[in-house]
């Protein structure tokens, strides 16, 4: 009930129209502050291209009432951080960036970089993929990150988050958010569904980003290595739920994540993501097409598949990612992992925490888009 009150569905088209219009009006202005970010060497080249379709919408972030004037200076400031302040410093920054880009290119084309056992290519993730995803996080979804200090500075932790949004954009944003906001710049290793590893290109990228299959063995191994592991136990039930059931947590699998965390003695950090539900409002599900394509669901949103590739542009919602108090698991005896009752209790505790935080955040939220 609570969510029906806080998410005015009828409001949406109006908001969308407004953001689109303002966005188009501003397109002439926005590339200017972004331009200095782009020429960082060979690897940065795709960035402007990727940003193309989303730029009007990114501008929409700036168009948001009170923040109207605030965002472009922030972007300019960010662009300037590459080179230290003054004009001659900027030139030095340019050259340094170029040299950096070339040495990066040199390592890439000669294959002199390292990947871990899971295929995680840290260099590629940090230098390329993160900088491609960052504009989405900062400009497009304007992700607000709270409670990131609940993720330990070092050692293993298991982040358990809600899953939504038809496409797993929330997982990517979570990864960027933790990396950018955590004081130790920790990398989250997300656990992904097996479908991800069957799809060409997606699986390649996913592995290089450090994701791995959501199975107990992999999660355990990563936790034992002291990594921060991110899991979304709702799986397809969560991400593919209809829009009418938004922010209602689905069943948390069989609670395998609690067992894994207990075995590794890693704290469980509950994480609530608000905003991802509305990026592709799934108003229908074509089971026939899904069965034909062999995928769990085939979403029908107000724009997809009617508008073709344009329907793939997510709505520029305003996101909040809140990390909750970590739940310690190292004070349980080792045999606790085989106690189903304890598993259920802990699973419910995590689930309740996330659900309550979601409701709290929804009440605080002013609108879906700002």
């Amino acid at each position: 009930m609570a969510d029906a009150k806080v998410i005015p569905f009828g409001d949406e088209p109006r908001a969308k129209r407004r953001t689109k219009r303002t966005g188009r009006a501003r397109t002439g202005r926005v590339p200017a502050p972004l331009a200095p970010v782009a020429p960082g060497g060979g690897e940065r080249a795709p960035q402007p291209r990727r940003e193309g379709p989303q730029r009007p919408a990114a501008a929409a972030g700036g168009a948001a009432g009170a923040r109207d004037g605030a965002v472009p200076p922030a972007a300019a400031a960010e662009a300037a951080t590459g080179g230290p302040g003054a004009a001659e410093g900027q030139e030095g920054g340019w050259e340094r960036k170029l040299a950096h880009g070339l040495s990066f290119l040199r390592r890439r084309i000669t294959g002199e970089y390292e990947v871990d056992d899971f295929g995680y290519d840290r260099e590629l993730t940090d230098q390329v993929v993160m900088s491609l995803l960052r504009p989405f996080k900062e400009k497009y979804f304007r992700v607000e990150v709270k409670g990131v200090e609940n993720i330990p500075e070092d050692g293993a932790a298991l982040i358990v988050a809600n899953h939504s949004g038809t496409l797993p954009v929330d997982g990517l944003m979570l990864q960027v958010a933790v990396h950018d906001h955590h004081p130790a710049g920790r990398h989250v290793r997300m656990l992904a569904a097996d479908l991800v590893f069957m799809l060409p290109l997606v699986n390649e990228l996913s592995r290089k980003l450090g994701h791995t299959l959501a199975c107990a063995e992999d999660a355990q191994k990563l936790l034992e290595r002291g990594e921060v592991v991110g899991v979304m136990p709702e799986g397809f039930k969560g991400i593919g739920k209809p829009f009418s059931e938004r922010y209602k947590l689905q069943r948390f699998g069989r609670g395998g994540f609690v067992q894994t965390a207990l075995r590794a003695g890693a704290p469980i950090v509950p994480c609530s993501i608000v905003g991802a539900e509305e990026i592709y409002p799934m108003i229908g599900n074509s089971r026939t097409v899904a069965r034909l394509l062999g995928i769990p669901y085939f979403p029908l949103t107000p724009s997809f598949p009617w508008l073709g590739p344009l329907g793939l542009v997510p709505l520029p919602t305003k996101w909040t990612i809140q990390f909750g108090e970590p739940i310690p698991t190292d004070d349980y005896p080792p045999e606790a992992a085989d106690d189903p009752m304890l598993m259920f209790n802990l699973t419910d505790q995590v689930r309740e925490t996330i659900q309550h935080t979601l409701y709290k955040l929804l009440v605080q939220r002013r609108s879906v888009f700002f």
């Binding site: 030139e91 340019w94 050259e95 170029l98 040299a99 070339l102 040495s103 290119l105 040199r106 890439r108 084309i109 000669t110 294959g111 002199e112 970089y113 390292e114 990947v115 871990d116 056992d117 899971f118 295929g119 290519d121 097996d194 590893f197 069957m198 799809l199 060409p200 290109l201 997606v202 699986n203 390649e204 592995r207 290089k208 791995t212 299959l213 199975c215 063995e217 992999d218 191994k221």
Partner: protein
């Protein structure tokens, strides 16, 4: 009294090298090499008996020579030379192992059995965990080819271990063996001028250097060192992982991506032409990759490989000569651009 070691599959490079190596062991008295065809390389003074392990004669050899250690290396994915067929290889793998194990069971002098297996037993599927341990059950059992042979061979070996609990059985699951003179299907693949790959997949690969392979076989065939145990099943692989794209770049060979269905056709075409054995399980390996956990090898077997996966690959790459796009040339080109760039910027 010294040991009498019988080694099967000595006509292959790896078998021949192992025979020469084990001859130098102080406690080894005699080494008997067995294969269906005489080896082209010398065996360093070891006796060679021409016997086909698919026939019961192998039992007579075992009994007459008083063999106490059997090293079974005749489990292979590809035929020796260009002439053999896949059927012969399969028969040697499966029927040969059955015969050999039957003969071992009947020979009371046998005390130790070492089997060269392969990480192919795990298969390669998107639903598999990223890292296999020795106890990981495969999600999809290999349907045919070498992988299925290996699964069957290991099944027979387990049966043998049950029936002869007094024999120390060691199964070594090797990742892809690479090195200057090894003749594995993957070594042939990397020797192609342009590497066909599967579009949208970048498999993780692990390699064992052939020197390490010989060394671990030696450890398994001898008495266990203090604090280690050399019976059981062990994954053998070098540290670290190489992606196929990375391997191709280090080798300096361009890749040619195919869509998954067409790569199967291309594979069978290449196979029909006899250019390369591009079998279905190899395509699966080059699609999904395979990485094994080697903690057991280090902790229980007490073996620490000298070469990591990238080092083993580098050694292989050195022996093959540069490809079409040598990494050194590319690096030099980038360096030249880097040298030009700041000057050009300054003038602007």
């Amino acid at each position: 009294m010294g040991k009498v070691v019988l080694v099967t599959g000595v006509a292959r490079q790896l078998g021949g090298r192992f025979v020469r190596r084990i001859l130098r062991e102080p406690d080894v008295d005699r080494v008997i090499g067995v294969d269906a065809v005489p080896p082209e390389h010398h065996l360093g003074g070891a006796e060679f008996i021409r016997a086909d392990i698919r026939h019961p004669t192998i039992g007579r050899v075992l009994a007459e020579q008083g063999v106490d250690t059997v090293v079974h290396m005749d489990v292979n994915g590809t035929p020796l030379g260009r002439s053999g067929s896949r059927t012969t290889v399969k028969e040697t793998n499966v029927i040969g192992t059955m015969q050999l194990l039957g003969a071992c069971q009947k020979t009371p002098s046998v005390r130790r059995l070492v089997v060269k297996s392969s990480t192919n037993v795990y298969g390669s599927a998107p639903r598999d965990p990223a890292v296999f341990t020795e106890t990981t059950p495969p999600k999809s059992l290999p349907g045919g080819g070498f992988a299925k042979d290996v699964v069957e061979v290991e099944g027979y070996v387990r049966g043998f271990a049950r029936r002869r609990p007094d024999v120390a059985v060691c199964v070594l699951r090797f990742a892809n063996v690479l090195g200057p003179c090894v003749d594995s299907p993957l070594a042939e693949y990397f020797a192609l001028p342009v590497l066909p790959t599967v579009l949208g997949f970048d498999p993780r690969l692990q390699f064992v250097h052939e020197d390490d392979a010989i060394e671990v076989l030696r450890i398994a065939a001898g008495e266990p060192a203090r604090g280690t145990l050399n019976s059981g099943t062990f994954n053998v692989a070098g540290d670290g992982v190489l992606l196929l794209s990375q391997a191709a770049r280090r080798l300096g060979r361009p890749t040619l991506p195919f869509f998954l269905p067409s790569v199967t056709w291309a594979g069978s075409a290449l196979r029909a032409l006899g250019v390369l054995d591009f079998s279905p399980e190899q395509i699966r390996l080059l699609t999904h990759g395979r990485v094994v956990d080697t903690a057991q090898m280090r902790e229980t077997l007490g073996f620490h490989p000298r070469y990591t996966t990238p080092e083993a690959f580098a050694d292989y790459a050195r022996s093959r000569g540069p490809g079409l796009l040598p990494p050194e040339t590319l690096a030099r080109t980038v360096d030249r651009i880097a040298a030009l760039m700041p000057a050009g910027r300054g003038q602007n």
